[in-house]
């Protein structure tokens, strides 16, 4: 776990890391229970991507902003949104259309070497060891958006497994060109962001690779907590932590009530360091 994280919470850091990768004019979708995603999109709009467009998947509100991170489906978002779409019409571009969304940001029970996503079950589907919530839009967003992000608030061998027990969101499937060979459009996971680092996918093999490790995180620590062999670059960069301006904007314009800090502190071992 990161050594010097004092000054910001895990949720704040993840929001900042995700926001940095968003470009102006892009289109995104945010599901339920997505505080970090909401904050990341609104932070990007406040900083470098003023025309980023995001929609609450279930609620249909577009670009709601009032400086408070609310659940994306919450009715209070209507008063601060640019539009409210009805889900039966939204399904056309959520569930069917190729590359309508530039990106989605998804959490998971499990992800794997090729960035496939599982929120359905651990173990056999018929008698699972752990029954998860299910798939909802994950299949479509992983399959149809131009790219997606895997956002994990835990990084351990339970979450990072060699092969997910159930593919409910297609990443790079078996790696290589297997995704497009199957007939899915170009896309797949671009980054995974976790409490330990940022990870991308090597262009040829599509296997997960270390892109940067957070301050104080060792290669050994990441390897110990990952259930498959990560690709390791020759030199491992350090993640650039959230800077003063990013944190100021996040707390002053996006998350003024501190939802991220309250809900997503650093995992237990690091709490003392953070506070």
């Amino acid at each position: 776990m990161p050594a010097s994280t004092a000054g910001f919470a895990l949720g704040e850091m993840l929001a900042v890391l995700l926001a940095r990768d968003m470009a102006d004019g892009e289109k995104a979708i945010v599901g339920t229970n997505s505080d970090i995603q909401v904050a990341a999109c609104n932070l990007a709009r406040q900083r470098h991507a003023p025309h980023l467009w995001w929609v609450s998947g279930p609620g249909g509100m577009t670009n709601p902003t009032e400086g408070v991170v609310r659940p994306a489906a919450d009715a209070e978002n209507i008063a601060v949104a640019q539009a409210v779409m009805d889900l039966p019409q939204m399904i056309d571009f959520i569930d069917w259309k190729v590359h309508f969304f530039d990106f989605a940001i998804l959490g998971a029970l499990q992800t794997d070497r090729f960035g496939n996503i599982n929120t359905v079950c651990v173990g056999e589907h018929a008698r699972p060891r752990l029954r998860g919530p299910g798939t909802v839009g994950i299949s479509a967003l992983c399959g149809l958006s131009r790219r997606f992000y895997i956002m994990m608030t835990r990084h351990d061998r339970g979450a990072f497994v060699p092969r997910v027990d159930f593919v409910c969101g297609a990443g790079h499937l078996e790696g290589g060109s297997s995704r497009t060979d199957f007939g899915l459009p170009e896309g797949g996971p671009r980054l995974a962001v976790t409490p330990l680092g940022v990870f991308d996918f090597e262009p040829a093999s599509k296997a997960m690779r270390i892109r940067s490790l957070h301050d104080g995180v060792t290669l050994e620590e990441v390897r110990d907590n990952t259930g498959f062999d990560l690709l390791v670059p020759d030199t491992i960069p350090r993640t650039t932590p959230p800077d003063t301006e990013e944190l100021f904007m996040l707390r002053r314009a996006v998350d003024t009530t501190g939802v991220l800090a309250a809900k997503f502190p650093w995992p237990r071992a690091e709490r003392k360091a953070v506070r």
Binding site: A75, P128, L130, G134, T135, A170, G183
Partner: protein, 297 residues
């Protein structure tokens, strides 16, 4: 789908008398938003059996029916307690293998409901490379016609016998208004054979006409309206009251095993006095606080 000639406002038991054991029952709302909980508690009280659920992404509504033993099989698009964790009774039943789970995703339920609403035999959706067709082969089959550059699946039409919804207010004619989003509710109503809506408030026809854009379920799609204040509790009724975090936490705690959950149901669903007794049990100040937004500063 037939319309009735009288007022569509009926009491809870009259409305639920349309639900027979073994029926396919759709549930509207979205996770903790607009779950038709008074109707769900009513089904538990009546001892419904062998239901086949088709819930929109939900939480306590499908979970309670499953925990109460009313359900033989459920479709699962998403059943979650969000920040409160996994849906406890659904989880236990699924892990023990006592509950049939038809795994579904957004495209599957959307394509199936739309085909149902359109009286088409099946809907066409993209094959997204998931494991869903493997575990739910009757719900997802390889499309007989493959063209257009991507692999396609067919999903059979979904036509629930009954759909249970919750809105905020309705008039006598059965126009149901939502202060928040409509989610899959209207699509479910269009696909269903019979639609029962609970609402928190009965309002004059003129109030409905005052903002017709809030009418998400027009009367033509509604067979019965049940006026049940706080009928979405412990979930939220958008614009009227917040979800009851304390009660939901207590629900999760009570769901630790079947005996404990049976005790919860005895007090909160199967008790004498129905919804009035339920509201008394929750308490005036608790409900008032939820009406104030969830916390009285």
């Amino acid at each position: 789908m037939a319309t009735t000639k009288q007022s569509k406002i009926v009491d809870l038991d009259t409305a639920l008398s349309a639900v027979e054991d073994g029926m396919t029952v759709g549930i509207g709302g979205w996770i903790f938003h607009g779950q038709p909980m008074a109707l769900i508690r009513g089904l538990v009280r009546r001892g419904a059996r062998d239901l086949r659920l088709v819930p929109a992404p939900g939480s306590v509504a499908p979970d309670m029916l499953i925990g109460a033993g009313c359900v033989r099989e459920t479709a699962c698009v998403f059943i979650s307690f969000e920040h409160l964790g996994l849906a406890p009774n659904f989880r236990r039943a699924a892990q023990s293998g006592t509950l049939g789970v038809l795994e579904m995703d957004g495209p599957g339920i959307a394509g199936g409901l739309r085909a149902g609403a359109c009286d088409l035999p099946y809907g066409l959706i993209p094959d997204l490379g998931t494991d869903l067709p493997t575990v739910n082969p009757q719900g997802y089959r390889k499309a007989r016609i493959q063209e257009g550059g991507r692999p396609l699946l067919e999903v059979p039409a979904i036509k629930p016998d009954i759909v249970l919804l919750h809105g905020q207010q309705a008039d006598e004619e059965g126009n149901v208004q939502y202060f928040g989003s409509g989610y899959f509710d209207l699509l479910m109503a269009q696909a269903a054979k019979h639609v029962i809506c609970s609402v928190d408030r009965l309002v004059p026809a003129s109030t409905v006409r005052h903002n017709a854009r809030l009418t998400k379920i027009p009367s033509a799609f509604v067979h019965a309206v049940v006026v049940t204040p706080f009928g979405a509790h412990p979930g939220c009724s958008p614009g009227l009251y917040a979800q009851d975090e304390a009660h939901l936490a207590a629900y999760v705690a009570a769901s630790r095993d079947q005996a404990s959950f049976d005790a919860y149901l005895a007090d909160h669903a199967r008790q004498a006095g129905g919804e009035a007794a339920y509201r008394d049990r929750i308490g005036a100040n608790a409900l008032a606080t939820l009406s104030a937004g969830g916390a009285v500063p």
